[in-house]
Amino acid sequence: MNKKINNLIFVWLIMLVTTMMTIMPLPHFFYGIRIEWVALGVIFFSIMNVSLMGVIAAWAIGLLLDLLQGGLLGENALILSVISYLSYRFRFQIRVYPDWQIMVVTLFLLSFGNLISLWIRGFSGRVLFVTEEWLSIVIAALIWPIFMRILQTLQNYFVEE
């Protein structure tokens, strides 16, 4: 039981940190670039450690993100739960890929998330194609291998099997 609580605290702390990194204001030079750390975190846990993160948890984090970013309530929640489900469903295939292929998969998942976001915007009447968003996704995918390594190290350290 103690083990479970320990692991839960680990996951939610990591997710809280990624949430804060997502909404943290960047210097003006990076204007418009917004890296989806939360999505990266959700993908990581859905692929690598299923017992710690499920669809519902991803949804809850997305809801928190919506509140923080002041957007439509449920938009990020929907995107993150879909991303979580997809990466969970194909985890056995993805897990054995070499790093660069996982990177491509991440790019695909994040773009799919962005596509959903565009659909929702279309429904709510503000279709807007922001170039920086797609640029941010590419940057996020490039960051992915480092992100994965860091989280794996942390996980080996703190998560009890």
Partner: protein
Amino acid sequence: MAINPGQRIHRYEKNYSSYRLIFVIILSCVLMYQDTQDGYSKTIRTYLSVFAYPITYAANLPKNTIEGLRLRLSERASIIDESKKLKEENILLKSQLQEIYKLDAENRRLYELLGSYPDKKRNFLFADIIATSSVPDRRQIIINKGSTDGVNIGDAVADPNGIIGHVIRDQVFSSEILLISDLEHAIPIEITSTGERAIAYGSGDMNRLEIRSISLNSKVQKGDVVITSGLGGRYPEGFPVGEISRVKKIEGENLLAIDLSPFANLDVINEIWVIQTEVSKDE
């Protein structure tokens, strides 16, 4: 990499994640629909936001600390310079203020002659910005005053130069403000030189609003000052909004395409105040 034995799933083990996904998608759609329709999610949102406040505060701490440090470490010379400039400005403003008493009295006398009274009394509440939206197409800021300080949804917000937006959501200890440059924002305005009333729409660009309902034979010129008209009741009357930066005639169109550049510097907002409108008691 070793796979955690706990997460190995047996072939015939039941897996509910698809059902969960469907459930969650439906729930999100209901929430989003409610949010666009101003349904009950507004109340839910207000109470949930209380949890968001510490996270917003913590996430913006590095930026705010760096800005605070920069202010504290700025050179003495520049501070003296600034203080001198502020003193001059203060004297200028005070000398202008002397006229106000006279104008105020005159105004009141005229109102009495007309038999009507200005019905609203205004309060100003100073606030600080704790966060700006990181999403590129959303022009929103969060300030550190909420409904516990008396901020209401719909209150107008201004900076020293002019109107910047209005309160759209209450977060109990803080509130969210939609800037006038947001794509979803529209503000009723009046062009001072011609007296024409119109609505200025946000363009998503920080330095440009659009007016699309002024007819071709209008005498609007570049540089005309635009103030709030007070129609619609959301924004108080007579506050400066901006000046007209471009007037363009489009072939085959009945209306002018007018651009407006706001007085308030929406990129770098520092001090702001919330304009609270109170209905006077004798009404």
